[in-house]
Symmetry: C2
DNA sequence: CTTGAAAGCGATAACAC
DNA sequence: GTGTTATCGCTTTCAAG
């Protein structure tokens, strides 16, 4: 089960995910509280794992990682050994930014960031040489309309 | 292309995206330099937009946002007016974490985070009542195998 | 590039409400 | 539990060697 999150926690989380460089004082002011209680709550949320990694979002395009693919994968193999190997391969490859196991006829979806189409092909060839895959469809992104890490906290149920 | 990124910049970016709460001193030590040059470079990278938002990653499951859908969208409409309205609708909805316009027969892909299947349906109904959509396939994630915001900086070209 | 220094902040404790 | 105040040492930021 989750953790008890009340309205104040939610405000703190919202302030933090919007800008994690804010000082304790600023967050306290924003949420209408003061330093100590805010600090205690942040510590608890961190310990509970609700607050995870603190990071900086980089501009992939500016860094020359100009191609983004969504990869739909079907497999005929469903034994534990194959799956374990497949997951390990995905986790080991840094160009795989997301990987999900799906319900339905498509088994997996990946999001892959690379320099260009050639780099994607190199990734693809390497992957299929490591594990057997039945069917792959690559969807090339033409335009990133939206990309956010901000969770919709308004929709989070309040802990009793 | 945008900015000159050298090996030192890349190390700094790697250190920062891995843990943005690190102090300047620590980063300087990690990358084998000292405070001021590191600080100057970070400032420039920020101004150039290479370094963007500083944030904290929250655990969606722990917050009760337990369902994640990838939504494949086909449309028959391609005029500017329709597209503008569609993009505005996506940007306005906080449960849409990602949206891409694609090449190929599928026109758009969305990543949507909600509490449960019912909340997804509410989102879906609201969306199709706002803009006309030809065909929608929702892929439900059963397991998040990997989800990272860390870009593969090893693969970033130097200079240029 | 390095030193250094002023201002600010994080992390906690003591105490009152 | 929350708010106030005060503390110490570290950090950011920037000027000048």
């Amino acid at each position: 089960m989750s953790v008890q999150i009340d309205a104040l926690d939610r405000k703190i989380l919202a302030a933090l995910q919007e800008d994690a460089s804010r000082s304790l004082d600023e967050i306290a002011r924003l949420v209408g509280s003061s330093k100590t209680p805010v600090w205690t709550r942040i510590r608890k949320l961190r310990e509970a794992g609700v607050i995870g990694r603190q990071t900086v979002l980089l501009d992939a395009e500016a860094l020359g990682l100009e191609a983004c693919f969504f990869v739909l994968i079907r497999t005929s193999e469903h034994e534990a050994g194959w799956q374990k190997k497949f997951l390990a391969a995905l986790r080991a490859r840094p160009e795989v930014l997301e990987a999900h196991r799906l319900a339905g006829e498509i088994d997996y979806i990946l999001k892959v960031r690379v320099r260009n189409a050639r780099a994607y092909d190199a990734f693809y060839q390497a992957l299929i040489s490591e594990v057997r895959i039945y069917n792959v469809t690559a969807l090339l992104s033409m335009e990133e309309i939206k990309a956010t890490t901000l969770l919709p906290l308004e929709q989070v149920p309040s802990g009793s």
